[in-house]
């Protein structure tokens, strides 16, 4: 038996989480270093997956399969296609930066504060989330996926509720209340989504008799497993609802601004750049493969919801007064693009959507982490509390601008490629939808540049006049992300080469072909 690489990649951060939690209370720094090393080792394993994966090989590679709950046909089945490989790489890549950016986020508060901040717990929870996210990307057994899809709510809940921003206008007491509210809202939204999905998972078992994604998809494809139209639609809706909460899609999005606003910047990145990606990923992997007909049936409604997300999220971002809420609404707009790309059901749309997931992870991490550095300096999340930062901290302002430019998909930076692919892929099948989505690029420029103008330019505000520029640790976090944004903007081929074959198989699952160019069609 070969080395179980996929299991190892998920288990390593899990063991790391336990080990980090077990570090004695006095050894805070050791716990941080341990967590960082574990995340780096996980990254090394993820890179190994990337190297071992053959884009032109079989659909699922590095597979592992063991019997688990034999009575119910639940198996421990792992396997990755190109889409999963790209997202595992993204997750493992972002983790060290998240840990490094949050280096001091869980330090004990000044003496006199009532609240206890378990440093070890913070980093252990982050690693636990990483482990669960990675195994969700790897699982090809529906039940196995479901367990970790739900289980990751628990560490996320504690991360949001237990480790908020120190910055709060109404003092620690109010902050604590709002934090709990945000954490509970996050949990309830996702739990309800999860419960509905659970019903659908069980329904699927009743119909199919097992939980194996590959077996069911194959049986669906060759006709040996017939589903009544209405059954398929109900099951699809059950799955999709959970993923739409997680992604999140309008109108199920309101937990995200609360959660991102209240948690520390690195945790906010963890939510939007990593955990939410499981939702969009699962739409591609489970909804389309298991329920191709129902997916096509639901497409018009989903496209409209995605469009609303794009425009509505962007407009709401324009109206925000809180930096982190602004980024949250921008993300909602971007998730609209990802979902649009998935359900446009074209090669460009789905390759673009997958690439979008990767690029959005990197660009949001860059923007949000710098925003976090900014907020930690001034102790406020309100845009109006800043002004003229560019003059006192030019490097911070410069990196913030690059993060912002990536968020507005400036050509030359990575998100442009994916956003344009999504737009083109949508336009070829639904021109009107593509055109409306294009308005998103104007609105994105509006909220990004207004944010930059209000915080960074103008006369230097008294309160920011002594603000230090980025420190070495912070530069180590931001610089590689910016390099990646530029690199993948100029040369996205390494990612598209991995993703393209997987997209091709997904499209053949739903029996969709790309529309032909009209010149060719006429001939």
């Amino acid at each position: 038996m070969s080395f179980p690489l996929l299991t190892a990649t998920a288990v390593l951060p899990a063991i790391g989480a336990i080990a980090t939690a077990a570090v004695p209370a006095a050894q805070r720094t050791a716990a941080k270093w341990l967590a960082l090393l574990v995340s780096l080792a996980t990254l090394a394993l993820a890179i190994t997956i990337l190297v071992r994966f053959d884009p032109d090989g079989g659909r699922y590679q590095l597979t592992e399969s063991h019997s688990w709950i034999a009575d119910f046909g639940v198996r421990y089945e792992l396997g990755v296609d190109g889409i999963a490989v790209a997202l595992i790489a993204l997750t493992a890549l972002l983790m060290p930066f998240i840990i490094l950016a949050g280096w001091h986020d869980a330090d004990p508060l000044e003496t006199g504060s009532r609240r206890w901040r378990p440093t070890q717990g913070f980093f252990a929870l982050i690693l636990a989330v990483e482990a669960m996210v990675i195994i969700s990307f790897e699982a090809t057994d529906v039940f196995l996926f479901y367990i970790f899809f739900e289980a990751m709510l628990i560490p996320m809940y504690f991360l949001i509720g237990g480790f908020g921003d120190r910055a709060h206008e109404h003092g620690e007491e109010a902050a604590s209340t709002q934090r709990s509210y945000a954490a509970v809202k996050f949990l309830l939204y996702n739990l309800i989504g999860g419960l509905i999905m659970l019903a659908a998972v069980i329904g699927l078992y009743v119909v199919a008799g097992n939980f194996s994604l590959q077996e069911i998809a194959q049986a669906r494809a060759n006709g040996s497993l017939h589903m009544a139209t209405s059954t398929e639609r109900w099951l699809f809706l059950g799955f999709f609802f959970a993923f739409a909460v997680k992604a999140p899609l309008w109108p199920l999005h309101t937990w995200l601004p609360n959660a991102m606003q209240e948690s520390t910047a690195p945790v906010a990145v963890l939510i939007t750049a990593v955990v939410d990606k499981v939702g969009t990923f699962a739409m591609l992997r489970f909804c389309l493969q298991l329920f191709p007909e129902a997916s096509k049936w639901a497409t018009p409604v989903i496209l409209v919801l995605a469009l609303i997300s794009i425009v509505y999220g962007a407009l709401l971002a324009v109206g925000q007064r809180d930096i982190k809420r602004l980024v949250a609404y921008a993300s909602i707009s971007h998730f609209g693009f990802i979902i649009l790309g998935i359900f446009a059901m074209t090669s460009q749309g789905q390759s673009g959507a997958t690439l979008y997931m990767v690029n959005h992870g990197i660009s949001t991490a860059a923007l949000m982490l710098v925003a976090g550095f900014l907020i930690s300096r001034r102790g406020s999340r309100l845009i109006a509390d800043y002004g003229g930062v560019q003059k006192v901290a030019p490097v911070l302002a410069g990196t913030f601008l690059i993060g912002g430019l990536a968020t507005l998909s400036l050509p030359g930076l990575a998100p442009f490629v994916s956003e344009f692919l999504v737009l083109v892929g949508t336009f070829t099948r639904y021109p009107a939808v593509g055109i409306i989505a294009t308005f998103g690029i104007v609105l994105a420029a509006l909220y990004t540049l207004v944010l930059y103008q209000r915080t960074m330019t103008g006369p230097v505000k008294q309160e920011v006049s002594a603000m230090p520029d980025l420190r070495v640790r912070e530069l180590v976090v931001v610089a590689p992300l910016i390099v990646l944004l530029i690199f993948l903007g100029v040369y996205p081929k390494p990612v598209t080469d991995i993703v393209n074959p997987a997209v091709k198989s997904t499209l053949s699952d739903v029996h969709k072909k790309d529309p032909k160019p009209s010149v060719e069609a006429a001939k």
Partner: protein, 648 residues
């Protein structure tokens, strides 16, 4: 030889990277690094030009394939460069004028503590603009297109601590983004129509597709051009863009970037040729803008804003010519090049005047400066003669050809467009004479009064170093600034004649753009005569108003039109009321809706379904309780799962 094309772009890109990442260590030499790399790029351009000239006219195209950029099933975007006569013309203009302006900036920005960064941005601009003109497909062009927009944003807002500069920069970017929507949609339309957006297959494949599609593509390209080239209705950003340092206004907002729209239309000539409706729209936009800009230019007392109005107007001429099809393409580009010389020269001259006048921009506080700044006066004067179309100078040749071509369109349209172009020539003569007289002639109105009145702060904060309330001591600028001005003046004087004698420019560009003579109802001599009459009328009126009478220190109230023109013909007011205010109301009400309605309804639904509302409220009360309930929640999922599994 092809490999030089990449180096052409790489040299300034390297400069930008080094200067922007280099840190303070490079402060002492940064400006020279930037300037040298600009000249290096120019040298590559000249070598490539010599190489092209050595080939016969039909084979003057160099292609360089670098790598496959975005390979996705059915979608192929490559990083491929194409250097043909059209791109070559732009490369020489961009690197030539660009290098001179780098040199000028060494002197102009001498006292700015962020000079290194300024040169980094200028180099970034050069790289992006070169990419724009050598790209071989529309998507790569888009990268350059946005790259110049970014550089423009950074440079307009270079003095970011001034709120007006930061606002102007943001406005420029946003208005351009509206144009970018047009470019995006045009590329998407090309992709669905041709399956590609590379120049070759798209422009060769025009014959196989319907006119409706081509018209749609053409109109979207026009929208893009309107944004970048400040054409009506997307012109409103250009006047505000004058907040940037004057060398930026000269290079980006006069000579090169704003002409990118003309490049786009001429490059896509095959599409427009097959879509007469789109062409008509282009000519209308051009004609309206050339009058719009000229009228605005007449009313401005800020020397840079007057020149900005003029830029809009002159680009209007180019767009008009580009809309005329093969009759006009060559002349659009020819006017673009000569305009690059004389308008860059005029802006540098304006900068030199400001440099000597404590950065005052209000022409009402100038006067009689010819004695104090002889070089600036002569070079500016030559630029002035060139732009109004004084016989023998650059503008005379290039503008005259456009007016002729407009008449040659034939029919009523020809008369209207030709008439508009003639009228524009008269107004151009008027406002430029006004600028000339108010600045260099007449009383020395700057005596005995401090410049920089508080209600009209000047654009250049450098003044802070000079003591802002002293009486200005006008003086000539240093050589590093005057030499570029002199060289541009030489271009303004001789460029037009050099291009036109023996139809050199026509023969050079024709293989790319095509050319036809059209069918003019009036002879070329008549057009030239009429243009001369217009010129004399315009100069005469301006002389009567500003030369013979003293210029009042405070602007008179003026007619309704004058007052409207001072406010950019009210477009900003319209934008403010409709877009800014309307937008604010929309976003504010949406924030409210999201908070109460969407959140409320979703929470409410969930609550009524799950009976969770009470729990939800209680959960907010304390950390410990929510802790417990969520533990319960997590456990409940697992228990429920197990139970349900057993039931199955």
């Amino acid at each position: 030889m092809e490999n030089l094309i990449a180096l052409l772009v790489a040299a300034p890109l390297l400069g930008a990277a080094v200067l922007l990442c280099g840190g303070r260590r490079l402060d002492a030499v940064g400006h020279w690094i930037g300037t040298v790399l600009a000249f290096v790029s120019f040298a590559f351009g000249v070598i490539l030009f010599a190489d092209l000239l050595g080939k016969d006219a039909e084979h003057r195209t160099l292609m360089q394939h670098l790598f496959s950029w975005v390979p996705v099933e059915g979608f192929q975007a490559d990083v491929t460069f194409r250097l043909d006569q059209l791109s070559m013309t732009f490369v020489l203009l961009i690197t030539g004028v660009g290098s001179l302006i780098h040199l000028y900036s060494v002197g102009y920005m001498e006292h700015d503590e962020r000079r290194r960064r300024f040169f980094g941005y200028l180099n970034l601009f050069l790289a992006a603009m070169l990419l724009l003109v050598v790209a071989d497909n529309y998507l790569l062009l888009y990268v350059g297109w946005e790259g110049v927009g970014l550089a423009s944003y950074l440079l307009i807002g270079f003095w970011q601590h001034k709120p007006s500069a930061a606002t102007a920069a943001k406005k420029a970017f946003l208005v351009n983004r509206v144009g970018d929507m047009g470019l995006s949609i045009a590329i998407m339309l090309m992709f669905t129509t041709f399956g590609t957006f590379a120049f070759g297959p798209v422009l060769d494949g025009v014959g196989d597709t319907s006119e409706g599609k081509l018209t749609a593509i053409g109109l979207m390209l026009l929208l893009a051009a309107c944004g970048k080239s400040a054409q009506v209705p997307l012109q409103s950003w250009l006047g505000d863009a004058m907040e940037g340092p004057t060398p930026v206004s000269a290079l980006i907002h006069a000579a090169t970037m704003v002409t990118a729209g003309v490049y786009l239309i001429v490059r896509s000539g095959a599409i427009f040729n097959a879509a007469p409706d789109a062409q008509l729209a282009v000519t209308v936009v051009g004609a309206v803008t050339l009058l719009f800009g000229a009228i605005v230019g007449c009313a401005k007392d800020d020397i840079k804003k007057a020149l900005a109005g003029s830029t809009m107007s002159q680009i209007g001429y180019m767009i008009l010519a580009a809309g005329l099809g093969p009759i006009g393409y060559v002349f659009a580009i020819m006017h673009l090049v000569t305009h690059g010389f004389f308008k860059a020269g005029l802006f540098l001259g304006a900068g030199s005047v400001m440099h000597g006048m404590n950065d005052e921009v209000d022409m009402r506080k100038y006067g009689g400066l010819r004695k104090y700044m002889p070089v600036t006066f002569i070079t500016f004067g030559l630029g002035y003669l060139a732009i109004i179309g004084f016989p023998g100078l650059s503008g005379f040749f290039s503008k005259d050809k456009i007016i002729e071509a407009a008449f040659a369109k034939g029919g009523t349209e020809g008369w209207i467009l030709g008439g508009a172009a003639l009228l524009g020539a008269a107004i151009t003569a008027f406002y430029m004479t006004r600028v000339m007289l108010m600045t260099f002639f007449g009383e020395e109105r700057w005596r005995n009064q401090p410049t920089r009145s508080p209600e009209a702060p000047s654009a250049e904060p450098v003044a802070e170093h000079h003591g802002e309330h002293a009486e200005p001591h006008p003086h000539e600028s240093p050589k590093v600034m005057t030499i570029p001005m002199i060289l541009l003046a030489v271009g303004s004087v001789f460029g037009g004649a050099f291009f036109s004698i023996g139809d050199r420019f026509l023969h050079w560009l024709e293989p790319v753009t095509g050319h036809s003579e059209g069918d003019s109802p009036v002879s070329a001599a008549t057009v030239t005569g009429a243009t001369m009459v217009c010129l004399i009328i315009g100069v005469g009126i301006a002389y009567a108003m500003y030369g013979r009478r003293p210029v009042p220190a405070v602007a008179p109230r003026g007619s309704l039109l004058t007052r409207a023109a001072r406010r950019d013909l009210l477009q900003d007011d319209f934008n403010h009321v409709v877009l800014v205010r309307g937008g604010e109301h929309l976003t504010r009400s949406l924030v409210y809706v999201d908070h109460t309605l969407v959140d409320g309804v979703v929470n409410g639904t969930a609550a009524s379904v799950g009976g969770l509302s009470g729990r939800m409220r209680r959960l907010q009360n304390g950390f410990a309780r929510s802790y417990a309930v969520s533990m319960f929640g997590g456990a409940a999922v697992l228990v429920a799962a197990t139970l349900l599994m057993r039931a199955v």
